[in-house]
């Protein structure tokens, strides 16, 4: 049995197609990413971009939700939540950043092309981009964050970075020094959560990467996620058609975020599984020379190795629990409900908090091999921490949790 099967998960809820997809991806990333990365390191053009194409286009993750009549696979029922997890676990095993990008695309698909919601103009308009092209489509989000200046619209205490005005010929967007969640330097499509002049709730408006007035800054250096070449954006009188506003209102935003967090949480678990595999090899082969003891047989190191495996195992169960909630709207209320959004927030925050510490511990056990690039562990360590930062301050995420469990009103 494959090491990863040692980690229990709700296999009995998955379709055979999910399991097949997972095993196809498992083999693909071994071959296309993991076997090549010692030589290619984190090279974007040579390693990451080609792999993205294989995963998004050839395997078809970017077509999954879109209806068949529009060239997609029409796998867009709530049960697709299990597919997202099964797939992104495997992708993240190879590279957290690739799974991070995939989570963006799948969250957008779930928002635009869930079963029963595929008749809108936007769906017809954007499906081809994902289903007909031969290239991976990189989706980036613009979400609320802290403000530096004044006068921006707030949403749950943070600030909407872009403001949108609706006119006769569509939307006009404005924003300075906008920080996207990923790939500011080369995303094909930005899904921008905007403050709408004259309205309370925010709206999610799609901005093509080549829109006039969209200026991309230079790629900036960051801790990890080489697959996401990020840069800040300026939006100066960016005009998009009315139908590019694909959703508005808190419930729709919560739905987007619940699916987004599901994908990110799965990416966190995949990174943990990969770290476990590296540690396992270390524990099997390394000998504590002074005692001729195999590393994994030392009680102190074994206990810490067990803690790491336990964190990984429990995180995996929780991510599948979240998939189970999304997959059964009847019982849990659907991705847009406060109940599920709160669960998604708790689980993704927990996964990245525990993953940060778990991978810290792997690094402690591997000592210098932990931070030497050669052993690959350090990239998961940097990537997971980077995703955690992009997820937003956990102290502030807790306000959402507090609102749900204690009905707080002023946080």
């Amino acid at each position: 049995m494959n090491n990863l099967d040692l980690f229990p998960y709700q296999k009995n809820r998955l379709e055979d197609t999910d399991l097949q997809l997972a095993s196809t991806l498992h083999d693909l990333v071994e071959r296309e990413v993991m076997d090549k990365r010692l030589e290619l390191k984190e090279d974007y053009e040579q390693l990451l971009k080609p792999s993205m194409r294989k995963i998004f286009v050839d395997i078809g993750l970017q077509k999954m939700f879109w209806p068949e009549k529009l060239g997609g696979e029409g796998h867009n029922g709530p049960e697709a939540a299990y597919t997202v997890v099964a797939a992104l676990e495997q992708v993240a095993r190879a590279d957290t950043g690739l799974a991070f990008l995939a989570a963006h695309g799948m969250a957008l698909q779930a928002s635009m092309a869930s079963r029963g919601e595929t008749d809108g103009e936007a769906c017809a308009r954007f499906a081809p981009l994902f289903c007909e092209g031969e290239d991976a489509v990189v989706v980036s989000l613009v979400l609320p964050t802290y403000a530096e200046g004044e006068g921006l619209t707030k949403w749950r205490g943070k600030y909407l970075q872009v403001t949108a005005k609706k006119g006769a010929e569509g939307w006009t967007l404005e924003g300075q020094g906008v920080r996207p969640t990923c790939s500011g330097a080369d995303a094909d499509l930005f899904a921008v959560l905007c403050g709408v002049a004259g309205e309370d709730g925010p709206a999610l408006i799609l901005v093509p990467g080549d829109a006039a007035g969209l200026k991309r800054g230079d790629e900036f250096k960051k801790t990890g996620l080489a697959a996401s070449r990020n840069a800040d954006l300026d939006l100066v009188k960016v005009k998009v058609p009315a139908e590019n506003c694909i959703l508005s209102g808190d419930e729709a935003v919560r739905k987007l975020l619940s699916w987004y967090y599901l994908g990110l949480a799965a990416a966190g678990v995949g990174s943990l599984l990969a770290s476990y595999e590296i540690l396992k090899e270390w524990g099997d082969t390394r000998v504590i020379k002074g005692r001729g003891q195999v590393f994994k047989e030392n009680p102190l190191t074994a206990a810490l190795m067990a803690q790491i495996a336990q964190d990984t195992a429990l995180d995996r169960l929780l991510v599948y629990d979240l998939a189970g909630m999304l997959a059964d709207p009847g019982t849990f209320g659907g991705a847009g409900s406060e109940a599920v959004h709160t669960a998604a927030t708790m689980i993704v925050q927990h996964v990245y908090t525990s993953a940060e510490m778990a991978i810290h511990h792997v690094m402690e056990l591997m000592a210098s091999a932990g931070y030497a690039k050669e052993w690959q562990l350090e990239r998961y360590w940097r990537d997971v921490k980077t995703v955690q930062c992009y997820l937003g301050a956990s102290e502030i995420a807790k306000f959402d949790v507090a609102r749900w469990f204690y009905q707080c009103e002023t946080l």
């Binding site: 205490g157 920080r179 250096k221 030497a372 301050a393 102290e395 502030i396």
Partner: protein, 422 residues
């Protein structure tokens, strides 16, 4: 506005000279290091940006002469009773800018302790090597070659192993040592160092500490080969590589302190290394405090500065409290290394183990606290331009060098609970 100087330390332990040097370091990092450090990660191989500030500090300011006796052109700190506390401040200041530089800086003096620190000054070797450091304005580095393949931190684990796992051999041939072996990871290798201290055995497999030899080897000696420097997750200023010795010959009197004493005073290297690691960690946290102040004062949440949100303030408070505690522990640790009259010799198992205890306690606290600060800064916490992410990467390596946490735990348990078979 509060500054990093508002964090507590035992004022009783400070000396005018140590503080003056510290102020010079502060000025140097602000002018010559901090403006350039964001490019250091990419400079890991060449050190084109990293070397010039070192030249200024070590060579032109002459800090590299610090330990040698005055009459040999040094500053005589090797026979002061405040070396560790002064070094703690220096290390803090360098690490505030870049803890990789702090490690590289500290290791310049590490091997020299064997020959220049009271009460075991090796006058002949001081005379031999002082000119190399004191008669130049170029930066001169040393390195201490301990770790070996498969050995990991075994050599640092000398209390348990008594040198029995050392594979690098020193065989006497006439009035020379012939050295053969393969070392990994010494700081300041990869072509940086001019002088090495090599931990060898004169009798492979022996558990007799008499057979642990610390022998000085100039890197230009025949048979010394250094490899490519390793690529790491951070700490670019700390260059590491493989180093091979193939029938490398040096005079017999290049042995640091002699049979028994080499392993005895190896404890001094361990305790000062542990003390230094705390200083690196505290220096890092102090700079993060500075950057964090900037962030939480300028970013707003609900139209108020971020620091005015109680939940965020809780994280800020925890970070300040952590710096307070770690800095106090670190200075006490340094003091214990300075005052054998009160705390026992700094090479004694008690002091060595206590510095390890202090060190891994501090490292765990710092890593947890820094991780939370980085998260509070959201995506900016992961930006190179905010410097916190760099410190986050580097400080993890500070935790792991010299034998990681588990080794510290075993030694601490062995001493405090008198475990016999660990």
């Amino acid at each position: 506005m509060r500054t990093i100087d508002d964090f507590s330390r035992p004022k009783e332990y400070l000396t005018p000279l140590g503080e003056n040097i510290g102020d010079i370091f502060r000025d140097w990092v602000d002018r010559e290091v901090i403006p350039y450090r964001r490019q250091f990660d990419e400079d890991w191989k060449e050190h084109e940006l990293i070397l010039p500030p070192f030249k200024r500090l070590l060579g032109e300011y002459g800090i590299q002469r610090m330990l040698f006796p005055e009459d040999l052109g040094g500053w005589g700190l090797g026979h002061s009773d405040f070396l560790s506390v002064a070094a703690f401040r220096m290390f803090e200041e360098v690490a505030r800018a870049d803890s990789g530089m702090a490690v590289a800086f500290g290791v310049v003096f590490w091997p020299l302790l064997f020959i220049a620190a009271e009460p075991h000054v090796n006058r002949r070797l001081c005379e031999e090597f002082a000119p190399m450091f004191c008669e130049t304005t170029e930066a001169v580095f040393s390195a201490l070659a301990m770790t070996e393949p498969q050995g990991g931190a075994d050599i640092e684990n000398y209390e348990f192993l008594k040198g029995s796992t050392i594979q690098t051999t020193a065989v006497q041939d006439g009035d020379e040592w012939v050295i053969n072996g393969h070392k990994l990871w010494p700081t300041n290798t990869g072509g940086v160092a001019d002088l090495l201290a090599v931990v060898c055995t004169t009798d492979p497999g022996s558990r007799d500490k008499e057979n642990i030899a610390v022998i000085f080897v100039p890197t230009d000696a025949a048979g010394v080969t250094q490899g490519e420097s390793y690529e790491k997750a951070g700490m670019a200023a700390d260059k590491n590589s493989d180093i091979w010795f193939e029938n490398t010959r040096v005079p017999l009197w290049y042995r640091a302190c002699g049979p028994g004493d080499d392993s005895l005073y190896f404890g001094e290297v361990m305790s000062l290394g542990g003390m230094g690691t705390i200083a690196f960690t505290v220096g890092v946290m102090m700079n993060i405090f500075e950057r964090l102040q900037d962030f939480v004062n300028t970013r707003t949440y609900r139209d108020r500065p971020l620091k005015e949100n109680d939940a965020v303030a809780g994280v800020l408070a925890d970070f300040a409290a952590t710096i307070e505690a770690c800095r106090i522990v670190g200075y006490q640790c340094a003091r214990m290394c300075d005052r054998p009259d009160l705390y026992g010799p700094r090479w004694s198992p008690e002091v060595v183990i206590k510095t390890r205890a202090h060190r891994y306690f501090v490292a765990d606290r710092a890593i947890e606290a820094i991780g939370k600060v980085m998260n509070i800064m959201e995506s900016y916490g992961a930006d190179r331009d905010w410097d916190v992410e760099k410190h986050w990467r580097d400080v993890k390596m500070c935790q792991l060098w010299m034998g990681g946490k588990q080794l510290c735990q075993m030694e601490v348990a062995r001493w405090f609970y008198e475990c016999e078979t660990l």
